[in-house]
Amino acid sequence: MNRSRLAFWIFFAPVIMWLVLLIVLPHLDLLTMSFRGENDYGDPIWTFENYTNFFTEPVYWLTFVRTALYAIITTFITFLLAMPVSFFIAKLARTRAQGALMILLLLPFWVSELVRIYGWMILLRESGVLNFFMLKLGIIDTPIEMLYNDATMIMGLVYTSMLFMVVPLVSVMDSLDDSLIEAAHDLGAGHLTIWRTIIIPHCKPGITSGSIVVFMLALGNYLTPNLMGGKNSLWFTEQIYNQFIASFNWNQGSAFGFLLLLLSSLIIWVGLKLTRQKLGEVAS
């Protein structure tokens, strides 16, 4: 069929403008900015200084490593929690309950992240609801500050990104034929063996895509560490924000931004390579 050139250009023009002007150029700008600086006379020059700063200043690279590690821990905890939940919805719940459970699962995540974190704050803080009940019940004598520490922050991150693990897991478990589990059982396998040899291998694609998204979201999160983390739980996105908005050092901020982008791309690439998947498959 002879496709009309007009149709092609109508589709092509806005897309190429979107991708070049809003994706490619800004990130190239980010890269160049990260190599710019000023010499002692205040003239703009090319320099590696922004990157050497990162490696020589422990607070910078420690925050970076910490952020990456906590993002990995968050991903892992999310996976551990999401696995039985998705199994319940896909394999144990009755068909009629499945739809309702899915809707219940989705609803909290349509609400702004800020509202969800705010909810946790009024639950957990010193004057919060949980403390109120624990005092009333006599479990504790003085209120405990449950906010502003690493554990709470990780819980917040898990909460925020839960959905993006559960949804791919439910859909991949739905596609697991029940008769495979029955066959394994019939051939003498116990629960643990069935999980190890049948369910988890089958769910690999869902686990990968879920983990990638959760890791990404945790790494790039700003609100949760900022509002729930303590003074010592600085997140790398907060460093970027500080450089841009507080210190107004855009060059340093760009270098940080680029490093974060590099890290997230690297981990995603490794994840995809390990499971031999393509980004396009994971996305759809």
Binding site: D177, S179, L180, E182, A183, A184, H185, D186, L187, G188, A189, G190, T193, T197, I198, P201, H202
Partner: protein
């Protein structure tokens, strides 16, 4: 001969729907037993109860004399070949077959030996390293069976395993399955809605309808002496007439059909004069242009079309009252002259008619 499986008064109810209704049967050791019925007749539920995936509402199951009620599927000496085979796609052929042995804690070298032997027995030597999606339909079939047989079950259950195959392969697999069962000697219980599968492979067939067994018998008995109208219609093709009994003699009755024919046919069940009956007649029981008309029911039909299908060729004919009849057309070249539109005479022997009293 001892029985590998005996089922007594088995009932299964889902809420107010009775899927299996008071079923009783025995399967002799080493035999090929089929349960034949239309979809939704309860045969899969029955099989899953034997395998242990469903608990019967009431009734008893014994395998080799041991009561199986309350025994979970993994502790029953039966294995199930699933409808869609349920081969594990995350493992290769060898790992699939070794799966059950590993669970039993059999040692590595022993597993290897048994797996190889089993692959040879099902005709797939050297296939151990292949992935499941590299196999053809028939090969998958054999792997699924090998995976169960390697555990040496008392009874092997098969849930329509040929359903997903194309016609040609299905014909081939029927014969192979039968050969395999004869060679290995394990008791097979086979479920199908395809009467030809059941007839070709089985020693005994149970015809199931609406949760009940209509008849249990050898394939020959089901075909030749169906006990119920359902069996007569479901097993093999049949032409049908309705009519009234006009005269009943010992061993023989005379029927006046609604379209005005008078037929003599054997009547095993005593039928009173005037009672309504349905008459069934196999296509191959109708002879075309019989030379000897003595003792036959003879009448004329018009050929509407020739349904040519090699050895299974038939004629689609109608009587002058527009009653459709299917008549077997033997491919002996003797009837090559018959063309659509011709009027031919046909006849059938009273012995080949099957009569049932019509339900009120």
């Amino acid at each position: 001969m001892s029985n590998d499986l005996s089922v007594r008064n088995m009932v299964k109810k889902f809420d107010d729907f009775t899927a299996v209704d008071n079923v009783t049967f025995d399967v002799p050791k080493g035999s090929f037993f089929s349960i034949l019925g239309p979809s939704g007749c309860g045969k899969t539920t029955l099989l899953r109860m034997i395998a242990g995936f469903e608990e019967p509402t009431s009734g008893a199951i014994e395998i080799r004399g041991k009561d199986m009620l309350g025994v979970p599927p993994n502790h029953r000496p039966v294995n199930l070949v699933f409808q869609h085979l349920a081969l594990f796609p995350m493992m290769n052929v060898e790992e699939n077959i070794a799966f059950g042995l590993k669970r039993r804690g059999v040692k590595g070298p022993e597993i290897r030996k048994q797996t190889d032997t089993m692959l040879e027995r099902v005709g797939l030597p050297g296939f151990g390293g292949k992935q499941i999606n590299q196999l053809s339909g028939g090969q998958k079939q054999r792997v699924a069976i090998a995976r169960c047989l390697v555990l040496e079950p008392s009874v092997l259950l098969l849930d329509e395993p040929l359903g997903a195959l194309d016609l040609k392969l299905r014909e081939q697999m029927k014969i192979e399955l039968k050969k395999l069962q004869t060679k290995i000697g394990t008791t097979f219980i086979y479920i199908t809605h395809d009467q030809s599968e059941a007839l070709v492979m089985s020693d005994h067939v149970a015809v199931m309808n609406n949760g009940q067994f209509e008849q249990i018998g050898t394939p020959q008995e089901l075909y030749g002496k169906p006990k119920t109208p359902f069996v007569a219609q479901f097993v093999g093709d049949n032409n049908q007439w309705s009519g009234n009994v006009t005269q009943s003699n010992p061993g023989e009755i005379i029927i006046a059909t609604d379209d005005g024919y008078s037929f003599r046919t054997k009547g095993d069940a005593p039928c009173a004069d005037g009672c309504r009956v349905n008459l069934y007649l196999r296509p191959e029981a109708i002879r075309i242009e019989p030379r000897q008309t003595e003792g036959l029911n003879v009448f004329d039909v018009q050929v509407k079309s020739i349904l040519f299908d090699g050895a299974n060729s038939r004629l689609l004919t109608t009587t002058k009252e527009e009653h459709e009849l299917i008549v077997t057309l033997p491919q002996t070249r003797k009837f090559d002259h018959i063309k659509p539109g011709d009027t031919i005479s046909v006849g059938w022997h009273p012995e080949s008619g099957i009569c049932f009293e019509a339900e009120a």
